[in-house]
């Protein structure tokens, strides 16, 4: 291996880790992790975007710190250490949201604080950041974070359109379906609608996966 090739393969590994999170290790549709926020906050695209931003921030922070500390973290207390690191980032996030984005803070409600127990973040800490270099851990956080964001956006896209008949992003109505918006299928905004939409999407992704493997 010559020296010129080395950064090249490193950056290839970096992009590989990012792409991994989007499709083959998509946290929601493939790993089936973090379903609680996926089901709960996906009543609107706005909520999905806010939640995703929060999760990406916490995931980046926790992966970075845990990867930095990986050589000196004692095995015995590694899980408490991960939880403390994650909880710190979540507390910072919720304070910042409360101060600068109060409407989003209101609409995410309890689910913002519950990022602490989001199994995607603890999962990445234990399965990836504690064993890999800082750079790769950042790539992993970006990939998994964006994968999570995409999943939330897809689920909330269907739920918002079916449940309210229109699509609103940051207070601007992008489009509305005439019949549906006057008489929306409110079922999709409620929790059972979340299960139905997520279940169908999971089935779709499994089916696509099966097709690809064959």
């Amino acid at each position: 291996m010559t020296q010129q090739e080395k950064p090249n393969t490193n950056s290839r590994r970096f992009t590989k880790e990012i792409l991994k999170g989007l499709v083959i290790a998509n946290p929601v549709f493939v790993l089936v992790l973090g379903l609680c926020p996926t089901l709960a906050v996906t009543i609107s695209i706005d909520n999905a975007l806010g939640m995703s931003a929060g999760v990406i921030f916490v995931l980046l922070g926790s992966n970075l710190i845990i990867s930095m500390l990986r050589r000196i973290t004692p095995q015995l207390v590694r899980i408490p250490v991960y939880i403390v690191v994650i909880a710190t980032f979540v507390t910072i996030l919720s304070l910042v949201f409360e101060a600068y984005l109060p409407p989003l803070y209101e609409s995410l409600g309890i689910y913002l604080a519950l990022i602490v127990v989001n199994c995607i973040i603890l999962g990445r800490a234990e399965a990836f950041a504690s064993k890999n270099t800082i750079l790769l851990s950042i790539a992993d956080a970006i990939g998994i974070g964006i994968g999570f964001a995409l999943s939330l956006i897809i689920v909330s896209f269907f739920r918002e359109i079916l449940g309210t008949g229109k699509l609103t992003v940051f207070g601007k109505t992008l489009f509305s379906i005439p019949v549906l918006s006057s008489d929306p299928l409110a079922f999709f905004i409620m929790p059972p609608g979340a299960f139905l939409v997520l279940g169908l999407l999971l089935a779709l992704f499994r089916w696509l996966g099966v097709l690809k493997n064959e």
Binding site: A40, I43, I72, T73, P74, L76, V77, P80, V81, V84, V85, A87, T88, T91, I92, L95, V96, E98, A99, Y100, P102, E106, G109, I110, A186, I189, M190, P191
Partner: protein, 209 residues
């Protein structure tokens, strides 16, 4: 010849043993010695927690003023929305007085109730005869689509003009109809408004004397 060979091997072995002993004595770096200590996990976790707590305290101090300002701004904008004709207001310890041309036109306060999903914060505007002018839900963490419907006008409009004895759910003998599927949230709002109103009437009356 044979003995010589044996001797040589013995010395080799001795050297190896000595080497090993040296390694055990000096070979462990100070860092390694610390990380092998029994107390190390405890110390490590303590340091992590201390760093975390100090970081959160710093951020909390930085954002505190801003959070309070946001809350105040929210209350004042509610005050203006409820008392459209008001031109001045005064903030007392735990309630607000709205004025028009230096005349008291009403009072306002915040009531908090315990809902299905957590705290519900309610802005209550009062007429000078202590009937409700209007209420607005400031914040809640109720179930989306069900409990969150307490924020809708269809629910809050029911409070308009009521005095404290009428503020309870219809099934408890009051005049407020609960939202279907969200009885706990409806009751939380109703009870919080009534209780806080009864307390505030006493306080305001004693202040006015």
């Amino acid at each position: 010849m044979n003995g010589n060979n044996e001797k040589r091997e013995n010395t080799k072995l001795d050297e190896k043993l000595q080497d090993h002993g040296q390694k055990i004595k000096n070979g462990i770096s100070p860092g390694e010695r610390i990380s092998r200590s029994r107390l190390y996990p405890l110390v490590f976790l303590t340091i992590i927690v201390l760093v975390s707590v100090s970081l959160v305290m710093v951020i909390s101090n930085v954002t505190k003023a801003r959070i309070l300002a946001e809350k105040d701004a929210a209350i004042i904008s509610q005050l203006k929305a409820v008392f459209t004709e008001t031109d001045d207001y005064e903030s007392k310890n735990d309630y607000y007085i709205a004025y028009t041309d230096k005349q008291v036109i009403g009072f306002a306060f915040i009531a908090t109730g315990k809902g299905y999903g957590g705290e519900i914060s309610i802005f209550v505007g009062l007429n000078t005869d202590f009937t409700i002018k209007d209420i607005k839900i400031l914040s809640n963490t109720e179930t989306p689509g069900l409990g969150t419907r307490i924020t809708e006008d269809a629910f809050t409009v029911q409070f308009k003009g009521l005095s404290s004895q009428d503020i309870s759910l219809a099934k408890d003998g009051g005049k407020i109809d609960a939202i279907t599927g969200a009885t706990i949230s409806s009751k939380a709002v109703t009870d919080a408004v009534r209780k806080e109103l009864e307390e505030k009437i006493e306080i305001i009356k004693s202040d006015m004397k």
